[in-house]
């Protein structure tokens, strides 16, 4: 038993070293811009770059739209499939697994071929259309995570009883979803939303192939032209990811734990 504990510690320490050293090294590197002393010059240089602000703002806005569209697509579908069409569940599970099997690069290739400027829905023919296509592509990427978050949320509340009670009280379907179900699974939806945000914010492949000025392509551009700024940007990205994940953890404490019926 003693040796078991020793091995556990050894594995933990080695693992921790692998994960912490790159972060420490990147942080150290990001401080080396000024010769001979540590400084935050690289960060100042990043924040002074107008393209940083504009590309970051663009990605944030696309991320917010992605979250809204994702919720509109996933929540009603999960609700009605759970409530009345359980035979559709395997189909939904299959669909939401596809983005994990088909690489994003392949999907965007399909979009460009299918929705090019001379096609029946020319998404890429205009800037607005391309933005819409980018948002839809991100919704697809985030589908597995959004679906699982919402599905887990609906599992913990008793949607059958809630729906019946609301119907007896005279609510219509829209009111049931908007005013009864949504508030009850808000925590689950928000954790799906933050995960979506973490995925979208630094995404490179789709944004660059659709030629949109997002944060990911901006990062690659900086990486080829500068020495210290990329390290600073890596630290900033890590903090953003940490923030999004930290929010999910904090929200988890507010999740409703009242489960009447188990299914």
């Amino acid at each position: 038993m003693k040796s078991q504990k020793f091995w556990a510690w050894l594995i933990f320490v080695l693992g921790a070293a692998y994960f912490i050293i790159p972060l420490a090294a990147t942080f150290e590197f990001s401080l080396r811009m000024r010769r001979g002393e540590y400084s935050f010059d690289a960060y100042a240089s990043v924040f002074a770059d107008p393209y940083f602000a504009s590309s970051f703002a663009y990605s944030v806005i696309v991320g917010l739209f992605t979250i809204v569209v994702g919720i509109l697509v996933v929540v009603p579908a999960v609700y009605f499939v759970r409530l009345r069409m359980p035979w559709l569940r395997p189909f939904m599970e299959f669909v939401t697994l596809l983005p994990l099997v088909i690489p994003a690069l392949v999907l965007v290739y399909g979009y460009i071929r299918l929705y090019g400027s001379s096609s029946f829905i020319p998404f890429t023919g205009s800037v607005l259309g391309t933005d819409i296509l980018l948002t839809c592509a991100y919704v697809t990427l985030a589908l597995p995570y959004m679906y699982r978050a919402v599905d887990n949320g609906m599992r913990t509340i008793d949607i059958g009883t809630l729906t019946e009670a609301a119907q007896i009280a005279g609510a219509n379907q829209l009111q049931i979803i908007g005013q009864i179900i949504l508030p009850n699974i808000l925590v689950a939806i928000l954790s799906g939303a933050f995960l979506t945000f973490a995925i979208v914010i630094g995404e490179f492949t789709i944004a660059s192939l659709l030629n949109r000025p997002a944060f990911g392509p901006y990062l690659v551009g900086i990486g080829t032209n500068r020495a210290y700024e990329p390290a600073a940007l890596a630290i900033i990205s890590f903090i953003i990811t940490w923030g999004a994940m930290g929010m999910i953890n904090v929200l988890g404490r507010f999740a409703p734990r009242t489960s009447a019926r188990t299914d």
Partner: protein, 307 residues
Amino acid sequence: MRPVRRLHTIRSVTMTDIAAPPKPPRRIPWDSLAVLPFVIFAVMFLFLPTFSLIGGAFTDRAGNFTFENIAGLFTDQILAAYWISIRISGASAILGALIGLAITLAIIRGKLPQGLRSAVMTFSGVASNFAGVPLAFAFIATLGRLGLVTIIIRTLFDFDIYRQGGFNLFSFWGLTLTYLYFQIPLMVLTIAPAIDGLKKEWNEAAQTLGANTWQFWRYIGFPILWPSVLGTLSLLFANAFGAIATAWALTGSNLNIVTVLLYNQIRGDALQNPGLGAALALGMIVITSLANVIYLVVAARAERWMK
């Protein structure tokens, strides 16, 4: 069908005595309408694009059916690209699964302090999403030619990992080492529930029957975990196989992996044949699907065996 018809005949017989009940007002099928956006979305952004690529892979420039694009994949350059992608994904998936499993076992069953567990799980959530371009930057700052670890090893041990060690971050092992940064946490996150499912009683029962630790894992623990491990393995494989941002930011177009090849094809028709590009994409789908089919088959077998 039959009970309804019988009801109908009964009703027609008694029609003269009892008035037919009023038909309920036709309800709008809200249920199916609410699922419609999801279905439309799946068709427009998952099914149709995939079918378009499959179609494109079997169509020549004039629009006729052909196998030439598929045959065109069997050139040295393309096969080499597939092969190095498969090797990197396989190596990073297998290593990631093994190391992730070891870490998860250590924090859950290794009697480490409770606080460590939640810290590791939280960090895994962050690190599994810390992929793409920033991850490449971090590893360049760490193990690049001027990276901190490279310099420390050179000053402390007078050993240049690039010149004397033959290491290169922009190579097979460099990329595999970098991919492990998101593969290991993904393994930890997906396998932790399965390891939580191993009941303490099983351990005690095995000990009572005289099994040692090795026998417990050989005959009880591992057979139960096996399907989950394998499932995660195929997930990790697909995850690495489709990754491009990290590789692109690390190596540019230096490393001839299949995603970089396809990226260049989409950007500027690098292969100078759109049909060949579609075939390349189809090949990627086939490989990631195959990984999942293998998992499904083995998982089904493992489940049958467990019953």
